[in-house]
Subunit: 110 residues, 2 copies
């Protein structure tokens, strides 16, 4: 028996950002490609693409700069707004899991 927790951001009651999308943006930042990022975190490109579109629409922020075609087929880089948003989310999330785990051990014991 284990405890799990998650936190996420909503806009108008619709989920807009959580741990999965955090990993997606971080992977895009690392690889410069939605395609590679999706492989890294084990989701389909289609899904990654849908996530990004939904996030941008709901947040009203342009998160990525996409280039299609060209050398290496193109690519995608994070905007400064995306980096800033990501940082805030990381601050929010980091440490929560530890707090929850500690409580779990204390209450359920051993």
């Amino acid at each position: 028996m284990e405890i799990r927790s998650k936190i996420w951001v909503e806009v108008d009651g619709e989920p807009v950002f959580g741990r999965g999308r955090r990993f997606l943006l971080e992977a895009i930042d690392k690889y410069g490609s939605i395609n590679q990022a999706a492989k890294e975190i084990n989701i389909s490109y289609r899904k990654a693409w849908s996530y990004i579109n939904a996030m941008e629409e709901r947040l009203g922020i342009k998160l990525v700069e996409r280039r299609t075609g060209g050398k290496n087929g193109g690519g995608t880089v994070l905007t400064n707004e995306a980096r800033s948003f990501l940082e805030k989310y990381k601050k929010l999330e980091d440490g929560i899991k530890e707090i929850v785990d500690r409580r779990f051990k204390k209450i359920y014991g051993q």
Copy 2:
């Protein structure tokens, strides 16, 4: 933009108990009836029934005592094990939301 959080218990990687099921058990305790409880928390009886079955199977604990037929058509009461489990979960959950909200205000607020 608002923050949301949830915690839940898993067994073998399968979710087994969370806020919704907490409310369900509490409502059963209050009304002595799965049917009334389901109405109270706005889910179908079918769903409530499925939840209970899955919980009991995965936890390996008998959570409710069901009686069918008879005066008032029967009813359902919580077992002592269920009450004990519920108490632990409430201890675990209560306060987490406040911690998360405080962080959110601090990081995103004003």
